[in-house]
């Protein structure tokens, strides 16, 4: 089943490729329709998913036995939400790409290949296979930015590539090292996640490998100070590229930290809690502060991603039930809201051919529907309770407090700053009296509403009934916590224990 999920986009890409280049008006609609197939399958998998720990829909086929590489796929509560999110965002991203007029066929093919890579990376339970998918995503995204991006696209694409590749090299080395170590300990090489999780690593080796994985994923997330590729990539990428970059690719970083760093290197993770948490919170505040003064709407949303992803990293390394659940669900939430914000910025750009905040203004008067959607997603992003962003961020900060109290408090400052940068931007873009081209700004078309509506529905659904995901997430995050506690001396603090320590007071 998961094999079919991964291969579906590839088949879809081949079908699109089979349509002659001359029939360019067909490529995009065909791509959208075909990408509904993986979405349907993902929805079916979601439906069939049991709320228990452990991998489900497991596929385990030997691939290259001498090296212990296998076509190993599986899905648990940590990857399932990401699979659904990916399958959902691809048709939306394609549907939003009507502004792409050159080489449409190649664009659609690359996007579908990208989808295959993303889905594969989320369901791979073999490290070699994961690496293959992880790299396979890099190439289509490189071209999407480099070919269909705006003015500085070459620079941005190259920067994106070099950064990510640098991380990838570190990760590849670590993966090979682990296989080698496995072979020296058991006599047979293996790249299976379940095998490598039981390695007997020296402390030094574990820390080194942790660091290599952490850097590779930190680039992806991105964690401060490795974030500077992101604003450039986002600003230059076409709308679909930005949506998938923010919605899915960044999540591979946080997903990887949770899936691989916590599981493979529990002791090193526990030791690194403070440094990772601190970097995360620096990202939360720094990203938000820098976002405030960005003159370009897309860059502003990009920096807001740096801030929001910081919450997720904090939640991962705070290592409590609530914080981990919050981190996983925030992975989805950020994909929905930031994906939607990039869509909306793209819709503004399609009409006004500018993203400069100073050139926009009064758009609520001329485009009230677009303004309404934008404001809705703005508040989802700010973390308004009742919408999805709140559930994730609240679980993260409340859950992080028992283990990382000072960092949790600092992260909460990000909540103030989010209101500052987003509402100020909203005020400048949408409030006031529209002048010039802003006054004749056409409102949303039915196609655009259809793209945004599912995102709005999910933002509300997760905001008000997050259990639709949390029920399925919780057993898996608990399993991760149990495993960390089993092999380290770390214990999830019980309520009431820590508070007395740092706030003095007589009984």
């Amino acid at each position: 089943m998961l094999t079919a999920l991964v291969l579906m986009p590839v088949v879809a890409a081949l079908v699109v490729l089979a349509v002659p280049r001359k029939r360019h008006e067909i490529h995009l609609p065909l791509g959208v329709v075909l990408s509904l197939a993986p979405l349907g399958l993902a929805a079916y998998l979601f439906w069939q998913f049991e709320p228990v720990a452990g991998m489900q829909f497991v596929v385990d086929v030997p691939w290259y036995e001498p090296w212990g590489i296998g076509w190993r796929l599986g899905m648990d509560g940590i990857s399932m939400p990401m699979v659904v999110l990916t399958a959902l965002l691809v048709p939306i991203a394609l549907g939003a790409s009507t502004a792409i007029t050159k080489r449409t066929r190649e664009f659609v093919v690359l996007t579908l290949l990208l989808e295959a890579g993303m889905l594969g990376a989320f369901v791979a339970t073999d490290l070699f296979l994961f690496f293959v998918f992880f790299e396979a995503m890099l190439i289509p995204m490189y071209f999407i930015i480099g070919v269909w991006g705006s003015d500085r696209r070459i620079y941005a694409a190259f920067k994106f590539f070099v950064y990510t590749f640098f991380g990838s090299a570190l990760m590849l080395a670590s993966i090979i090292a682990m296989a080698v170590i496995h072979s020296s300990q058991t006599g047979a090489a293996s790249f299976a996640l379940s095998d490598l999780a039981n390695l007997d690593l020296t402390m030094g080796a574990e820390r080194l490998l942790f660091a290599a994985f952490a850097i590779a994923f930190a680039v992806k997330v991105p964690i401060f100070p490795l974030h500077t590729w992101l604003p450039d990539a986002h600003t230059e990428a076409p709308t679909a590229g930005s949506v998938l970059l923010a919605g899915v690719l960044l999540k591979l970083g946080t997903y990887g930290l949770m899936r691989f760093n916590l599981t493979l290197f529990p002791q090193a993770s526990v030791d690194a809690v403070w440094i990772m948490g601190a970097l995360a919170v620096i990202g939360v505040i720094y990203g938000a502060v820098v976002a405030i003064v960005q003159p370009d709407l897309k860059r502003l949303v990009a920096y807001s991603s740096v801030s929001h992803l910081g919450f997720i990293v904090l939640g991962i390394f705070a290592l409590t039930s609530a914080s981990l659940q919050g981190a996983v669900i925030q992975n989805v939430n950020h994909g929905l809201t930031t994906g939607a914000l990039f869509l909306l910025v793209g819709m503004i750009y399609d009409r006004r051919h500018t993203k400069a905040i100073a050139e926009l203004g009064g758009l609520q008067k001329s485009g009230p529907m677009l303004a309404g959607f934008f404001l809705f997603m703005t508040f989802a992003s700010i973390g308004l309770p009742g919408l999805n962003g709140f559930v994730g961020e609240f679980l993260v900060v409340i859950g992080s407090f028992p283990t990382l109290p000072s960092l949790a408090v600092l992260a909460a400052i990000g909540v103030i700053l989010a209101a500052v940068y987003l509402l100020w931007a909203y005020q400048r873009v949408f409030h006031g009296i529209p002048e010039g081209e802003n006054a004749t700004f056409p409102d949303l078309t039915p196609r655009e509403i259809a793209l945004l509506a599912p995102l709005v529905a999910l933002v509300l659904l997760i905001g008000l009934y997050p259990n639709i995901l949390l029920d399925r997430i919780a057993p898996s995050t608990e399993a991760v916590l149990d495993q960390v506690q089993a092999v380290t001396d770390y214990e999830v603090p019980y309520p009431g224990r820590l508070v007395d320590v740092f706030i003095p007071g007589e009984g």
Binding site: A173, V289, V293
Partner: protein
């Protein structure tokens, strides 16, 4: 019937919510009054459900009930659940009752606005949010309502968004409130860390055994920060005067009668936590007293009819904080209720005046309006007397109970009692000044203004609120402690402050506070019944103090210089002096270095990317080898 109503209690929230949704998707196309009538009907029905559900509490045999709707964030003990007890019932009745009257008023007031339907969407959404806040059965859901009312406030302050001042005020309100929300979030972190849940049921009964004094103080002070944002107390009150950019019914509903009292409600609801920390109590009361006095002094020198009321609201909220800080919870909630009546009335009256004067808000251009709009004038006059503390109007009873409680608690609270008395005199002064400037003396309006009484849709709510202002105080008098008994079960486990006992003491206390009110009333009446030149001279005679008051001590400028501008500079520095040149530069520098090395070692290959790949691959192999040797 009553059981049914409690089973159907979620309707209290759902009705206005459904109203908002229906109007949003369908109602925008309805002809004008229909949207307003539907919205009013939704909240009116909500009031009726609440009324029937509250019936057992009136009879004294009701029990607090928790109604689970569905689970929300079980990991932190936060579900969507309603707590129906006398406190939430009373708040529900205030919100829906006063809310209904304001909805009806708005049908007349918003007549002709091109976004008439949209206005009622937001108004209904606000009601649903506020009811979520007061009916919540845990802190997370309270926070849900807390933020949603903030959203509605944002939307309604900025309702006329093409005005820059309205857009700015909306943003300011939300951002300043977010500072308070930071306090709320940290408080909830502490609560969760201490109790392992955010549910009231798991907190209040165990607070005494779980919390140390230090933690209780921390939570209490953080709640105070949150409350200072929402309820416009020092130092976060600055958003409320600007919020007057919103249409006047909004000011009445959100920025006077309901939303801004959420902070008072929060403290009263958390009585079990404040119980453990005298420090938190005294801080709440002191902030309240300081705010009451500070805002009252500013209100004295305002000329905008709504600004007077805005500062007056801040000041009266300070009164409520004094009460709940002194653990006189019933007195605080009592004043919350009476204030909702008379302040809503004052705002709606001001709206009626503004409406009649074709959007003029400067009181210097009014005067002598009583004969032109007698209903507005008389009802506002009643409210003015009520807020001034003239017996037997509602404001007298509730204000007196607060002052009496402060006096009875003594010590530092005795000092606050004096502040309260001084504020009472000032309140009587500025309110009388307002009424006289608007309704008495020589007409000062221009020739093309044609003031007229507002239509029945607007005056009927005024009359209803005036009636409540007259009789509302009798629910809790030294003769009959009805409200006290009503709320008793809520505050069962906590100690509560009461006014001094005995008729002699009551008479003395009442005498002193009524005297203070009458002094203010008489002074303003004498000064402002004279022609404008005379009182303008009187005001100038108070310079430079008058100028400070008139400019609200220039606190906005102060914040601008100390917080806003430095913050902006810091953000610019971070973005343009750090992020681009330093951090991005450093990484690019490393890249250049690598390229430099790459060029040196370039022998066979030519492509840049391939150089990188080769270099990195070599490094990777080296690492692997090293690891395989040492690590395994």
């Amino acid at each position: 019937m009553t059981d049914l109503a409690i089973d159907l209690l979620w309707l209290v929230i759902l009705l206005p919510l459904a109203g908002a949704l229906f109007l949003h998707f369908v109602g925008q196309r309805l002809p004008e009054p229909m949207a307003g009538l539907l919205a009013s009907a939704a909240i009116g029905l909500s009031f009726l459900v609440g009324l029937v559900g509250a019936f057992p509490f009136f009879q004294g045999d009701g029990e607090a009930t928790t109604i689970l709707l569905w689970s929300w964030m079980p990991a932190i003990g936060a579900n969507l659940e309603l707590l129906w007890d006398p406190l939430s019932a009373l708040m529900t009745l205030i919100v829906t009752g006063v809310g209904f009257l304001i909805h009806v008023f708005a049908i007349g007031y918003m007549h002709g606005d091109e976004r008439f339907g949209r206005f009622f969407v937001n108004l209904n959404l606000f009601a649903a949010s506020m009811l979520t806040l007061v009916l919540a059965g845990n802190y997370a859901m309270l926070f849900l309502g807390w933020e949603l009312v903030g959203l509605c406030s944002y939307l309604l302050i900025g309702f006329w968004f093409t005005r820059d001042s309205a857009a700015g005020a909306a943003k300011k309100a939300f951002v300043v409130n977010r500072i308070g929300d930071f306090g709320m979030m940290v408080a909830l972190m502490l609560v969760f860390a201490a109790f392992g849940t955010l549910s009231y049921a798991g907190i209040f009964d165990r607070a005494g055994e779980v919390l140390t004094t230090g933690v209780a103080t921390a939570i209490g002070l953080l709640f105070l920060l949150a409350a200072a944002g929402k309820s416009a107390q020092i130092p976060l009150y600055v958003w409320l005067p600007d919020a007057m950019e919103g249409p006047t019914p909004v000011s009445a509903l959100i920025h006077a009668a309901t939303m801004v009292t959420a902070g008072v409600y929060l403290v009263a609801r958390s009585a079990a936590i404040f119980e453990l920390s005298p420090t938190a109590q005294v801080t709440v009361a002191t902030i309240g007293a300081a705010t009451a006095l500070w805002a009252a002094s500013i209100a004295i020198a305002q000329y905008d009819i709504k600004k007077v009321l805005a500062y007056s609201t801040i000041s009266q909220l300070g009164y409520m904080f004094m009460a709940v800080g002194a653990t006189a919870y019933v007195a605080g909630i009592f004043h919350l209720m009476t204030h909702a009546f008379f302040k809503a009335l004052l705002f709606l009256g001001a709206g009626s005046v503004i409406h009649a004067m074709s959007d003029e808000q400067d009181m210097r251009k009014m005067g002598g309006l009583l004969s032109k709009m007698p209903v507005t004038g008389v009802t506002m006059g009643i409210a003015t007397l009520a807020i001034a503390g003239v017996p037997p109007l509602a404001g007298f009873w509730s204000k007196d109970e607060i002052l009496g409680s402060l006096f009875a608690r003594g010590g530092w609270y005795g000092v606050l009692w004096v502040v309260g008395l001084l504020t009472a005199a000032m309140t009587a002064f500025y309110m009388t000044r307002q009424w006289v400037m608007v309704f008495w003396g020589e007409p000062r309006w221009s020739e093309d203004a044609h003031p007229h009484e507002s239509p029945g849709m607007m005056t009927l709510p005024l009359i209803a609120l005036a009636a409540l202002t007259v009789v509302g105080g009798f629910v809790n008098t030294p003769f009959r402690f009805t409200l006290e008994h009503f709320l008793e079960p809520v505050f069962e486990g906590v100690s509560m402050q009461h006014p001094p006992e005995g008729w002699g003491m009551f008479a003395l206390m009442a005498g002193i506070s009524v005297f203070a009110g009458l002094v203010g009333l008489a002074a303003a009446g004498l000064a402002y019944r004279r022609p404008m030149e005379d009182w303008a001279e009187f005001e100038q005679g108070l310079q430079p103090v008058w100028g400070w008051w008139e400019q609200a001590y220039r606190v906005d400028d102060f914040y601008n210089v100390t917080v806003v501008q430095p913050g902006k500079k810091a953000a610019e520095a971070a973005a343009f002096s750090v992020d681009l040149p330093v951090i991005d530069g450093a990484v690019n520098g490393v890249g250049r270095l690598a390229r430099g090395i790459g060029e040196r070692v370039r022998v066979l290959q030519t492509g840049q990317v391939r150089n990188y790949a080769a270099l990195l691959f070599a490094g990777a192999i080296a690492l692997v080898v090293w690891l395989a040797v040492t690590g395994a």
